[in-house]
């Protein structure tokens, strides 16, 4: 094995060799540079291999042939090997990326690049504090040199600012080092001891100076203005290298110092880190410049890792796994994103839409954002999980909350950026596809996925990338070149096949969800046959969502449940984002979802630390205050997904703006994930109190209010799909109400809603989508009289609204019957009354779907439209059949669930004898109801036909106008503002208070970020003062705490 010192020697040798070259032998000089970097990477790789595979022992290198303290020594252990590999590979690919710039500037620039990489290696390897200082200074000088590679004129000023600040920092570092030497008598990391610093006079101050100077190299808030200017103006390849290599090396230096300083310094590191994490993310919110945004994000990520370094006391064995995971994710993502920014001409983040049309680059962009936000299957996700469990386990709740808040803000601006790139108009200028740059980006992408696999393998929870549904979904990335109908067939066959293979494993409750996801999903996918072309990106997203849902109902432990939850969130985000105008709605969806997911993560982390049992049993065994907290966090998290009132504002836009076949997926199927979570939670934990408040009782109220307000908001909608979306809020409110009744019939009713809502909401969304597709609008007052042109859609809507409104004979009535029985045996009257009144309100908006869209007079411009496409109609007709069948034999699905629920709610079950269903209050006979209603309907219909024989048909122009010509003709249409009187009476209830509340919060955050970032005046003297202020603040906190 090659000695680690050869890494440094090879760099030096190459630098000197470059000095001997003729200035014109640029290609040769470049070759030497690449070879040297490649060789350095090879040595590190060899060591990584030796440690990982052969369990090698760490190697000490004594430079002068004598032991420390008489000479400097280096160490090559596993962390050193991994970090130097990361640094050298980033260096190698940066050199590749910099090809043109390096060839233009010549050998001097190449030598400086080598010095930079060597210095970072040295910072990692050295065990001597003065040697550390030397390598830091080398890095400073090399950074100063490499800044000049940039084509941006402002880079000169940025480099100078950096030199100014680093002068101040290095003065602190030197003084700290010399007094540390004075206190301990040695310069060697391994020979210094925390006791030495404590014993000597001024020893603690000496350590403080050294520590603060090294931490300052990590760009902590607020002493980081210089770094942001560097990130913004440097050559993107160097910005990436600077962000990755300097951060990795300096973090390791801080780690070495923390061992010296002892446990007292850990909270200081955490404090600095977490403040930086939150502040940098907040200040990033108003950023428009892509590279500066990445700079803020880099600063934030490094702050997070610093905070993790400060938690080594509780992370134990997971320390390197967590910190390393964050470093790896940060490295692949930041290098990749900076390198991508080099291809994009515009510096505004909106300009990244130019990446569209390059699927590989878009995939890279998406992967990098996922790496940064810690989504599965990337290492940041594993790190997030272990960190949350460790923090919750040792009671550091505030830190956990702060980290999650920071992460949510970060996800906010990163996903906003992603939305811009995927949805905004493509600018005219094309990207510059420099092959060496693209190679580097693809290398970063490959590294990101390799890290994902590696961390999965190292994880104690199993590799996420080994889950069959996820692999199936990811395989669609490779199939994306196929035509849409082929992929659609593969998807349908795959899902149904998975169901057939696995359905015996589910208990009755899960089986209902499994059928909805794995059989219901393919039924909706039938409508997708209507799409032409390749439909790039649709199938990976849709399948990711279905994979998440499938894994969710199969999950038995906290970790896999949470993985599934995040997968389905991400998949559905991309699915929703596909709609034409859905960019802002998708953003609000992902922010609410991630916020909910963080609550769930916290709840799981709390529960997981109490007992190592599988999820269900662990929840059952919780007691006391923890149980209340866990229940509350999980319930709110799941209710975010069911769009309970207060957390609902993402839903209408997200569901309404989605594509025709996507709306039913995200409404009919995805919403059930939240209900499933709630069911698991409530079955396991029952009623819980939180500081004396009965949470389930609060949920009962939330359910009732969601039902009322969701329905009310729906009746005032003009947009057919938004109407259906609001109606979902109401429907989920019913289901939540049923669950919160916590009795047998309440649960049967909720499950009935799960099934019914899937069927009729999918059907109605498909009909509304089909009509919108033909008429070119979703506004109902622009339609009318479509009954003769689109009869099949009319039948679907008619059957759908009969089912939703709960009038006999369809299954909605069954739901209502169970509901009446359920409330008869429950105690809480007022929420019951509210829920009861929501029923008729639902009828008001459902009526509009028939009346305004299909009845009345045909608009002139709609005269030539045809029935919706076959593939959109086909699933609707299947649903009509299903609704009929479910109406006649509800027992098919519900009977087994009813029995299953007996073990949890033994009292008040239903009796399923023969064709009638009996409860303690009465009976329901679906078949006889069907017969009676059909008989009444048939005879009335016949009578109507008979008396209408001689009726005169009113034609469109049999209308007499008064003399006036209205300014906006549609406002005179009777269907416009149809329920105006109700609006006058009840409008105050649907004022967008909640929307305003969340908008105000977003506004406050943005304004705070915008004011805060003015701290960075651009003047290096201010930046140096920031550093001094930082030192003083940390000093006071340190001595004060």
């Amino acid at each position: 094995m090659v000695s680690a010192i050869v890494i440094i020697a090879a760099a030096l040798a190459a630098e000197f060799m470059l000095g001997l070259f003729n200035e014109r032998w640029r290609a040769a000089a470049y070759g030497v540079t690449l070879f040297a970097l490649g060789f350095m990477a090879f040595i590190s790789a060899e060591w990584v291999w030796a440690f990982a595979v052969y369990d090698a022992q760490p190697a000490e290198i004594f430079t002068a042939g004598v032991q420390p303290p008489f000479a400097i020594n280096l160490r090559m252990g596993f962390p050193e090997a991994a970090l130097t590999l990361l640094i050298n590979l980033t260096g190698l690919f940066s050199a590749l990326y910099l090809r043109r710039a390096l060839l233009e500037k010549g050998r001097a620039a190449m030598a400086v690049l080598l010095v930079f990489v060597m210095a970072q290696n040295g910072i990692v390897l050295t065990r001597d504090i003065f040697n550390l200082f030397v390598f830091f200074e080398l890095a400073v000088i090399a950074t100063g040199g490499l800044m000049l590679l940039s084509e941006d004129e402002r880079a000169v000023a940025a480099g100078f600012k950096y030199l100014i600040v680093s002068q101040v920092i290095s003065a602190f570092l030197l003084i700290g080092i010399i007094f540390s030497y004075h206190a301990t008598g040695v310069l060697n990391f391994d020979l210094m001891r925390p006791e030495h610093f404590a014993a000597a006079q001024g020893g603690a101050i000496a350590f403080f100076l050294m520590f603060i100077a090294v931490v300052a190299e990590l760009k902590p808030f607020p002493a980081n203005g210089w770094a942001l200017d560097i990130y913004e103006s440097a050559h993107p390849a160097f910005a990436g290298l600077f962000s990755v290599a300097s951060a990795a090396a300096t973090l390791y230096a801080v780690d070495k110092l923390l061992v010296l300083g002892g446990p007292a310094w850990l909270p200081v590191a955490t404090g600095i880190g977490v403040v930086t994490f939150i502040a940098a993310n907040l200040l990033a919110l108003p950023q428009r410049n892509d590279r500066r945004l990445l700079g803020y994000s880099s600063v934030a990520q490094i702050g997070l890792i610093l905070a993790v370094l400060g938690q080594r006391d509780i992370l134990g064995d997971h320390y390197f796994f967590v910190a390393g995971g964050l470093i790896a994710a940060h490295a692949a993502a930041k290098a990749g994103l900076y390198w991508l920014s080099g291809l994009v001409a515009s510096r505004d983040i909106i300009g990244w839409s130019t990446l569209r049309g390059h699927p590989v680059l878009i995939f890279a962009f998406v992967s990098f954002i996922a790496l940064l936000t810690g989504l599965p299957p990337f290492p940041g996700f594993y790190a997030k999980w272990e960190l949350a469990v460790a923090l919750a386990g040792s009671g550091r709740y505030i830190l956990l909350a702060l980290i999650l808040i920071g992460a949510l803000i970060e996800a906010g601006y990163l996903f906003r950026w992603l939305g811009y790139a995927l949805k905004r108009d493509k600018p005219s200028e094309e990207i510059s596809c420099d092959p060496s740059a693209v190679t580097a980006i693809i290398a970063a992408l490959a590294a990101g996925w390799a890290f994902a696999y590696l961390w999965g393998d190292l994880s104690a929870h199993g590799n996420i990338l080994h889950a069959v549904p996820l692999l199936f979904a990811l395989s669609f990335l490779l199939l994306d070149w196929l035509p849409a109908w082929v992929k659609n067939t593969v998807a349908i066959v795959g899902m149904v096949g998975y169901f057939i293979l696995n359905y015996t494993d589910y208990d009755p409750l899960r089986l209902i969800f499994a059928v909805i996801i794995l059989i219901g999903g393919p039924v909706i996918l039938l409508a997708s046959y209507d799409a032409h072309g390749r439909r790039i990106g649709f199938y990976p997203s849709a399948m990711l969502m279905y994979a998440g849902l499938t894994q969710l109902i199969g999950a038995t432990d906290f970790f896999s449940f949470f993985v599934a939850w995040e997968l389905l969130t991400v998949g559905s985000y991309f699915l929703i984002l596909r709609g034409k105008h859905s960019e802002p709605h998708a953003l609000s969806y992902i922010i609410f979802s991630l916020g909910g997911a963080f609550l769930i993560l916290t709840g799981f982390a709390l529960a997981a630390t109490v007992s190592p049992l599988p999820m269900f049993e662990a929840l059952q065994h919780l007691t006391g205050e923890t149980a209340g907290w866990v229940f509350l966090l999980l319930a709110v998290g799941f209710m975010t997904k069911t769009a309970a009132i207060g957390l609902h504002i993402w839903l209408p836009g997200a569901h309404a703006e989605a594509e025709t076949d996507v709306s039913p997926m995200v409404s009919g199927i995805l919403l059930k994930a939240g209900l499933y979570g709630l069911m698991v939670l409530m079955l396991a934990m029952g009623k819980q109190r939180f500081y004396g408040i009965d949470i389930v009782h609060v949920m009962l109220w939330v359910g009732a209010l969601s039902a009322l307000l969701g329905n009310l908001m729906a009746i005032f909608e003009e947009d057919a799909k938004r109407l259906l979306a609001y109606s979902s809020i109401g429907q989920m409110g019913y289901a939540l109400f049923g669950l919160a009744l916590m009795n047998h019939l309440g649960w049967v009713m909720a499950l009935m809603f799960v099934i019914n809502h899937y069927i009729y909401k999918s059907m109605l969304f498909l009909s509304a989508g089909g009509v919108a597709k033909r008429t070119g609008t979703r506004l109902m007052y622009k339609m009318g009289g479509l009954i003769t042109l689109m009869p099949l859609s009319f039948i679907a809507v008619l059957i759908g609204i009969i089912a939703v409104s709960g009038v006999p004979p369809l299954s909605g009535f069954g739901g209502r019957w169970i509901f009446y029985n359920a409330i008869l045996s429950a105690e809480h009257r007022l929420p019951m009354v509210i829920t009861f009144f929501s029923g008729p309100i639902a009828f008001l908006y459902l009526f509009r779907l028939i009346h305004t869209v299909f009845l009345g007079q045909l608009k002139d411009e709609n005269r030539r439209i045809k029935e919706a496409p076959f593939w959109v109609i086909l699933p609707q007709m299947l649903y009509v059949g299903l609704l009929m069948a479910f109406a006649i034999v509800p027992g098919l699905a519900l009977r087994r669930v009813d029995t299953y629920l007996n073990q949890f709610f033994p009292e008040g079950g239903l009796n399923w004898e023969g064709i009638t269903i009996t409860s303690q209050f009465g009976y329901w006979s679906p078949v006889s109801i069907m017969i009676i209603v059909c008989a009444i309907f048939g005879s009335l219909f016949a009578w109507l036909m008979f008396i209408n024989r001689r009726a005169q048909k009113v034609k469109q122009f049999n209308i007499v106008f008064a003399a006036e010509r209205p300014y906006r003709p549609e406002t005179t249409h009777f269907a416009w503002n149809f329920f105006a009187p109700y609006r006058k009476a009840l409008g105050f209830l649907v004022q967008p208070f909640v929307t305003r509340f969340w908008e105000t919060i977003a506004d406050i955050l943005h304004t705070a970020g915008d004011i805060g970032r003015r701290l960075y005046t651009g003047n290096p003297q201010t930046y140096a003062l920031h550093f001094l202020a930082f030192v003083v603040i940390v000093y006071f906190f340190w001595t004060g705490g």
């Binding site: 000088i141 402002r154 000023a157 100078f160 680093s166 101040v168 010399i178 030497y181 003015r1014 651009g1018």
Partner: protein, 118 residues
């Protein structure tokens, strides 16, 4: 003696920092930093000083056997040499930068070079 040197060193550092943070002229800032550097070096040497001992040069007057008891600590002196070299390097780089900055805007006023901010 050692205390005097160390105090002088710290005073030089403070003077240097004050100068670097209050002067707008880039060249004056660089000069101020060299003053601060000298202060740092003085502090380094002062830390290694031991009363009544001689320079760490092993020759006829100081045999190797007695060296440990008779010479001052040589390590800080070695460190100072390195620190001086590095200081020269950084100063040279800053001067090169100041030339570039001047070339670009024809001014050495640091407040005129603040396009990058926020």
């Amino acid at each position: 003696m050692a205390h005097l040197a160390m105090a002088t060193g710290f005073i030089l550092i403070l003077i240097g920092f004050y100068g670097a943070l209050t002067n707008r002229n880039i060249l004056r800032m660089i000069v101020a930093f060299t003053v601060a550097d000298s202060g740092v070096n003085l502090v380094l040497v002062a830390v290694g000083y031991m009363r009544g001992r001689t320079a760490p040069i092993l020759d006829n007057t100081v045999p190797a056997a007695e060296a440990a008891a008779r010479i001052i600590d040589p390590v800080p002196q070695a460190l100072v040499l390195t620190a001086i070299v590095i200081g020269v390097g950084v100063t040279a780089l800053m001067l090169a930068y100041s030339y570039k900055l001047y070339e670009k805007k024809r001014t050495l006023d640091i407040t005129k070079h603040t396009e990058l901010k926020w």
